[in-house]
């Protein structure tokens, strides 16, 4: 049996197909990833984007729509996926996928483009408690992206640069607009870019950490979402949370889609 999860995020559409496994001697291995696909919708509207991403994913995986038994949608645009059989919030899908990938994880930190959140999950990947930013982008990936542009660095360079700094420059900003002003002031005062990058990522980590503290920091901590690709942020997050280790799953952008596909499989069971 094949099921699918589709994550309609604010910037990308991700699709994951799961296939039922029957591994002799390893009954805990029930599901394997049959295929995954990411698409940047550009100018497509939401309906078209969902359809195109799904069709492209099917093609890549070498399967047909008929073979997919259940499709569960997640993400901010989940209601736009007309062909989905049901939907699940990004909070529920993220936790489910994270614990599937790292079964020892108890605290899920999810930092995507639009939102940062902390989730406490149980051993089955079910959400016990959650907290997230609402009106402030300072704890979200989009903020780091915007600040990297201000420094004229790519996101990759931005993250790497911050690792070269050992300075702590407090950034008091609670809001991206004011934070950007602070960054501009730092640029004008000839502060090295790596120090500014670290200051920004420390600030994002601090905002995220405040949300995670609301649900309680219980190890293992796992980070999911686009910020997994930012090594500077990971370093800042460890410091803010006061932990030595943050688990980083494979295919981090797909965790919510994976969670949705798992829920699709369970719904079908």
């Amino acid at each position: 049996m094949i099921t699918a999860g589709i994550d309609m995020g604010s910037r990308t559409v991700k699709v994951v197909f799961l296939e039922e496994l029957k591994v002799d001697g390893a009954p805990q291995l029930k599901w394997g990833v049959k295929g995954k696909h990411i698409m940047f919708p550009d100018e497509l509207d939401a309906d078209e984007a969902a359809d195109k991403a799904f069709d492209d994913a099917l093609k890549e995986a070498g399967i047909t729509r008929d073979q997919v038994k259940n499709v569960v949608a997640t993400g901010a645009g989940r209601k736009q996926v007309k062909f989905a059989t049901s939907d699940v919030t990004e909070v529920g899908a993220g936790a489910r996928g994270a614990v599937f990938m790292c079964p020892t994880a108890k605290t899920v930190v999810d930092v995507g483009a639009e939102e940062g959140r902390g989730v406490k999950a149980n051993a089955e990947g079910k959400v016990v408690d959650f907290a997230g930013n609402e009106k402030c982008a300072a704890g979200a990936g989009a903020f780091a992206e915007s600040m990297s542009r201000a420094l004229q660095l790519s996101l990759k360079e931005f993250g790497e640069a911050s690792l070269r700094s050992d300075k702590t420059i407090p950034m008091n900003a609670q809001c991206t607009v004011f934070a950007e002003s602070e960054v501009v002031s730092l640029i004008h005062s000839s502060t090295p870019k790596e120090d500014i990058a670290k200051a920004v990522l420390d600030a994002v980590a601090s905002r995220v950490c405040a949300m995670v503290r609301r649900v309680g920091i219980e190890e293992d901590v796992i980070l999911i979402g686009g910020m997994v690709h930012n090594p500077g942020f990971i370093q800042s997050l460890k410091g803010a949370l006061g932990v030595d280790k943050v688990l980083l799953p494979d295919m981090p952008e797909y965790i919510s889609a994976l969670g949705a596909a798992l829920i699709a499989a369970e719904n079908n069971a």
Partner: protein, 436 residues
């Protein structure tokens, strides 16, 4: 997927009519030689009632909430207050009230009806400034403040009660001097008894919501509790609550539900974002009924712990054989009654509120709590994250959402619904409506 029978609350229409009449009475008070006064919903309104039966009030918070529903006029009021120089992060009701004075516009028609005096209690950090500033905007309206911030009721001492009582007695003299009217003790005592009836009866109504299915949902309760915030010491308010209690008891006896698909019970906290009460209807799509909150129950309801340990309406003094004859003894009982108000206790220690919330959770069978981090009201939001921690530590599922009871710029409906979706998932609930 209806599980229970439902029907509209019969007294709901009457509650709406009484509310509207209240605002009209205030505006027209001078036409018949009556008096107008203004103060908060927590003002000790039985005291001005001693001036006569033709004395009408305008309570500030319900006035702000009323305007909040009229989003266009609300925006005009907010803009007017901000243009005048008042900061956006101040109490939203207060800004609306000031805006209405500045614009000289009354939502029930005509100019803003300026009060003859302001009569206010102070416990919330905004309350005194509210009427101090209003008095200036109204060309120095005479204003009297009673400081009721003497600590939690559980720590009440004779001296603390004396402190409030003596201010109440001083107020009677101030009212005589200010209005030129003789203070009538009989009217005052009658008003105190009315207020005790109103607030005890409201608690009794809320206690009926312990029943499953809940006979009332919180959105409907807002249309009922508001009468106590307007005029708790009036006979019409007390009589209405008696009528309402009889009807709610009848609903419980017949198993009439507020939400026919009830399968989960939540409670909220603090004032809701008034312009977006549809959030409560959204909950119902999941079969979740909001059975009330400490705010709805205890803003005006007066409660006590019963001999069996449960929470119920506070027993009226005369039911316990207590004499209520002189101004002094009645004032003392009246102040004691108000100081026990549940919604006054968290100002001193959030743990008291957490314990009361846990009582509601246990006795009303609450499955989850939705805390409104209300940027519009510092007074009721103070300590709310401590409450969250306290509830979460005792294993209660809690969600928070940010907003403002009276300033829609600080509320995001889509994001709040999305958060509700996540919370409902944690409670294992699915929407009854087909997937869109």
């Amino acid at each position: 997927m209806a599980k229970y029978p439902t029907e509209q609350l019969k007294c709901w229409k009457k509650a709406k009519e009484l509310r509207e009449q209240y605002y009209i009475n205030f505006a027209k008070a001078h036409e018949k030689g009556g008096l107008r006064w203004s103060g908060s919903a927590w003002a000790l309104d039985a005291i001005p009632a001693g001036l006569g039966n033709d004395v009408y009030s305008l309570t500030g918070e319900p006035y702000g909430a009323t305007i909040a529903v009229d989003r266009k006029f609300n925006k005009e009021c907010q803009d007017a207050a901000e243009s005048y120089g008042y900061a956006r992060d101040m109490c939203a009701y207060m800004r609306t009230y000031w805006g209405s004075i500045i614009l000289n516009k009354y939502p029930f028609g005509g100019e803003f009806p300026k009060p003859d005096f302001n009569f206010q209690t102070q416990i919330c950090c905004s309350h005194s400034k509210w009427y101090q500033a209003a008095a200036k905007l109204e060309d120095n309206t005479p204003t009297f403040f009673i400081d009721v911030s003497v600590g939690a009721y559980q720590d009440l001492t004779t001296e603390r009660l004396d402190f409030v009582t003596n201010q109440g007695l001083e107020a009677c003299e101030w009212l005589e001097k200010t209005t030129g009217r003789k203070f009538n003790d009989e009217l005052f005592i009658e008003a105190v008894k009315n207020e005790m009836r109103s607030t005890s009866l409201w608690a009794a109504i809320c206690a009926e919501n312990k029943a499953k299915p809940a006979p009332l949902d919180e959105k409907t309760m807002y249309s009922l509790y508001v009468l106590a915030t307007l005029s708790k010491s009036s006979k019409w308010c007390a009589d209405f609550y008696q009528e309402c209690l009889d009807e709610v008891k009848d609903r419980v006896a017949r198993g009439i539900a507020a939400v026919p698909n009830e399968r989960c019970r939540v409670m909220s906290d603090t004032q809701p974002p008034w312009g977006f009460l549809k959030v409560f209807r959204y909950l119902e799509e999941y079969g979740a009924v909001s059975i009330g909150s400490l705010y709805t129950f205890g803003l005006e309801g007066i409660w006590e712990t019963k001999p069996d340990g449960t929470w119920g309406p506070r027993t009226l003094p005369w039911e316990k054989g207590i004499e209520m004859n002189t101004r002094e003894e009645v004032m003392r009982l009246y102040c004691d009654w108000n100081l026990s108000k549940p919604q006054w206790q968290h100002f001193y220690d959030p743990r008291i509120k957490t314990e009361m919330m846990k009582t509601i959770i246990k006795e009303w069978g609450v499955d989850g709590v939705m805390l409104h981090l209300n940027r519009g009201c510092e007074g009721l939001s103070i300590g709310i994250m401590e409450n969250r921690l306290g509830l979460a530590a005792s294993g209660v599922p809690v969600m928070t959402f940010e907003g403002n009871m009276g300033d829609e710029r600080e509320f995001d409906l889509g994001r709040t619904q999305s958060r509700v979706d996540s919370f409902m998932e944690t409670l294992n609930l699915k929407r009854d409506t087909a997937h869109a």
